[in-house]
């Protein structure tokens, strides 16, 4: 299923598909946020923002506005 990082649930993993290169900070690419790499949502901050992610082994926090720009494909839906 295609979606953006922003709509991942805690503990969900996904593969990065694409993003708008003009809007996304270069730093994020350098931290490993590149098409084909894996991302996992680890934590959501109180009040829902920012998000704490594991992107390709880098542990980082980004804001929702950025997370909305990154299209991903879910790897497996966590069993509920």
């Amino acid at each position: 299923m295609q979606t953006t990082i922003h709509s991942l649930k805690k503990g969900q993993k996904a593969t990065i598909l694409d993003f708008d290169i003009d809007l996304i900070p270069l730093k994020l690419l350098e931290m490993g946020c590149l098409p084909g790499n894996e991302v996992e949502l680890l934590q959501i901050a109180p009040f829902g923002d920012p998000l704490y992610l594991d992107i390709n082994g880098s542990h980082l926090a980004i804001r929702i506005e950025t997370a909305k720009l990154i299209e991903v494909e879910l790897i497996n839906n966590i069993t509920k």
């Binding site: 290169i21 900070p25 690419l29 590149l34 920012p50």
Partner: protein, 699 residues
């Protein structure tokens, strides 16, 4: 054989233990000066290497890549692009964390492309077994075209081997790892033809970012090789992908991870520390402990230093031959030095806590926890670190805003940071709280004086937030917002790093601020010991005339003469001249003197009062605090330092911008006089008004 010092630059991502490596190499041979007056963004140290070679070790700010997105990162690039810089490295050490090797190598491949001899330092090797990691060092050395030092800076393993590698830096390859130009061969070829003598990768860096480049006319490159922002970014993305491909290929053979060994201590701790209830509760508990300890635990050493200097002053007065020089020593210099040293315990405690929080990785969680809240006020989660560091000193705190990528958020943080209660306010707070707040306990355990102090910190922080909110509404600054924070692994803080940090910062306080305080103490003593007119010269005669009707005892007479002299000394006249302005705030001319002299730096306030009361001593009290407590207003007959005037003074010092060094650093970081001037006017006006209201309401 020439004994030229080798220049070594330490480069690496944040949180890889770069500072530990720096501390292991240099120990206490460091030069860090970021307290009043001096601002140094590059930490320097010296290291003795085998064969009698000395190395200058330069610790550069942590950076993820050579594409600068913050001022901190551009410091690194500017140095590495400028071969003429005095500090340009003969050899670069790229420090990496074995657990994040893939990402860390991105920076490494960029440094290699600058054709600087580079040693790859793989840190935290002691955790490899624990994490199930194995490395094929010969394979990696061959493909990364370098020498690798496998070290553990925590345990001190591998440091000697690293020193040996540095000494033989000439044998280390300066060859690039990969050929970045294939991302757009046509473009790079034309670049190469236009600037045949320049390194291609350097040109590329100059084109893609905003750093000062000294050797080249960047406008020239820019105009003929300009591309749209979007095209450039696409190329940068291509470059990044290409670098990762290279790294992945190398690591596929050179690195093996048995992930079944890895454990999830981090996620468990994260769940608690970033919890929506526990997270905040723990954070405020930590802050509370810090503030209680600053006041409670520091008391014993502070009282000891206080009484020691009082005794020294008395001894000097009694035992040295009487005369001007003795007076200068016993009334000017000794109380002046005492006024500086007494704050060492509190400053040391503050830096102790701050460096433990930074070292452990906890600060990043605070950033994560606070971002949403701070954003409402135009700040960033990253502003929390400057605001907390501001409790030590606004100068390093303002410098710590450099990792905030968004200019508006950064500017607001810079402007409001001076409201947080810095350690220079502590002396003033401590002494006034001691005078006007009773030393009692509420609820059995909470010290009322400690609580008051904490309240002052809260007021400072609250004012910072409020000012930020207003600035956020007023300021029209354009800039893209983005926020990327690395959440490092939790680490037990290293004793050596914390200790060095505390010692260095305290030393910088004592010698940096101390020089100013001592100089002002001496000047004040002179101004207080001499006066222009008859009233000063003939003080004895005047007192004698006035006292004809009811004769004074000899002590009373001496005291009356001393007061008469002080009142008519140069400084006394200065204080008197501003009395009309400050008397609505509840201050007399003696406090006026202290306010004038503490304009350059707040901590001078107490030293000034110490000097003034020593000169005009009207009782037998030894310490400054007792002297202040005994001061009586001759007109009303009431104590000068009562509840109303005390609170008014606390408010004045909470808000007034009395720190020349902070103004200087604001000027430097914002590159304009507009912002420091605004800070000065706004904060001083606010301080005056709040103090005025406080006194008028409470008196």
């Amino acid at each position: 054989m020439s004994l030229k010092n080798i220049n070594v630059a330490l480069i690496g991502n944040p949180n890889v233990g770069k500072t530990s490596v720096f501390n292991q190499l240099t120990g206490l041979n460091q030069q860090v000066g970021n307290y009043p007056g001096i601002t140094v963004e590059k930490k320097m140290g010296f290291c003795k290497l085998p064969n009698n070679v000395k190395a200058n070790i330069l610790d550069l700010p942590g950076t993820y890549s050579l594409n600068a997105s913050s001022i901190d990162e551009s410091v690194v690039i500017e140095l590495l692009l400028n071969k003429n810089d005095r500090l340009y490295p003969d050899v670069a050490l790229v420090v990496t964390d074995v657990e994040n090797l893939k990402r860390n190598l991105l920076l490494y491949t960029q440094i290699k492309d600058l054709e600087i001899p580079t040693i790859l330092v793989i840190n935290m090797a002691d955790r490899m077994e624990h994490k199930g990691i194995t490395l094929d060092i010969p394979y990696l050395e061959q493909h990364l075209k370098t020498k690798i030092a496998l070290i553990s800076s925590r345990k001190g393993h591998g440091i000697e081997e690293l020193k040996n590698l540095i000494v033989s830096y000439k044998t280390i390859s300066a060859e690039p790892c990969l050929n970045a130009s294939i991302i757009d061969p046509e473009y790079f070829n034309s670049l190469r033809h236009a600037f045949p003598n320049q390194l291609l990768y350097k040109l590329w860096l100059v084109i893609t970012q905003d750093v000062n480049f000294l050797n080249l006319e960047r406008n020239e490159i820019r105009s003929s090789f300009t591309k749209s922002h979007s095209d450039l970014k696409r190329l940068q993305q291509k470059e990044t992908i290409k670098r990762y491909q290279f790294i992945n290929d190398v690591l596929k053979e050179g690195l093996k991870i048995d992930s079944s060994v890895a454990k999830d201590f981090r996620s468990k701790l994260d769940r608690v520390l970033t919890h929506k209830v526990w997270g905040y509760l723990i954070f405020f508990m930590i802050l509370f402990v810090i503030f209680q300890s600053i006041f409670e635990w520091s008391k014993i050493p502070m009282d000891f230093i206080d009484s020691t200097f009082a005794t020294l002053s008395t001894l000097a007065g009694e035992h040295l031959p009487s005369g001007m020089l003795t007076n200068l020593i016993s009334q000017g210099i000794i109380p002046g030095i005492g006024g500086i040293l007494i704050f060492i315990p509190q400053i040391a405690f503050l830096f102790l806590f701050i460096s433990i929080l930074e070292e452990s990785g906890y600060m990043s969680r605070v950033v994560f926890l606070m971002d949403k809240i701070m954003r409402r006020f135009g700040l960033s989660g990253k502003s929390v670190v400057p605001l907390i560091s501001g409790t030590a000193c606004a100068i390093p705190a303002i410098m710590a805003t450099r990792n905030i990528e968004n200019w508006k958020e950064r500017l607001i943080t810079i402007l409001v940071t001076p409201f947080t209660t810095c350690s220079a306010r502590l002396p003033v707070y401590a002494i006034i709280i001691g005078l006007v707040i009773p030393d009692t306990y509420v609820f059995g355990i909470l010290n009322l004086q400690g609580l008051t102090l904490m309240l002052l910190y809260v007021i400072g922080f609250g004012m910072a937030i409020l000012a930020a909110y207003i600035l956020n509404l007023i300021l029209k600054v354009k800039g893209k917002t983005f926020f990327v924070v690395e959440m490092p692994n939790y680490k037990l803080p290293m004793f050596k790093n914390v200790a060095i940090n505390v010692i260095e910062k305290t030393k910088a306080f004592v010698f940096g601020a101390g020089k100013i305080i001592l100089a002002i103490s001496i000047i004040l003593w002179f101004l207080a010991s001499y006066g222009p007119g008859k009233e000063f010269k003939d003080a004895e005669k005047i007192v004698f005339e006035n006292a004809k009707e009811n004769p004074l005892s000899s002590t009373e007479f001496d005291n009356a003469v001393a007061s008469q002299k002080l009142e008519n000394s140069y400084i006394g006249l200065m204080g008197k001249s501003i009395e009309p302005v400050i008397s609505p705030l509840g201050y007399d001319w003696k406090i006026g003197i202290a306010i004038i002299s503490s304009f350059a730096a707040r901590e001078v306030f107490v030293g000034t009062l110490a000097t003034i009361y020593s000169v005009g001593g009207t009782d037998n009290e030894n310490t400054i605090k007792n002297k202040m407590a005994a001061e009586i207003n001759p007109v009303t007959g009431e104590k000068i330092f009562n509840f109303a005037s005390g609170i008014s003074l606390l408010m004045f010092y909470a808000f007034a911008m009395q720190c020349a060094s902070t103004l200087a650093i604001t000027k430097k970081e914002t590159n304009s006089w507009k912002w420091p001037a605004g800070q000065l006017v706004f904060m001083s006006t606010l301080a005056y008004l709040v103090a005025l209201i406080a006194f008028q309401v409470l008196k």
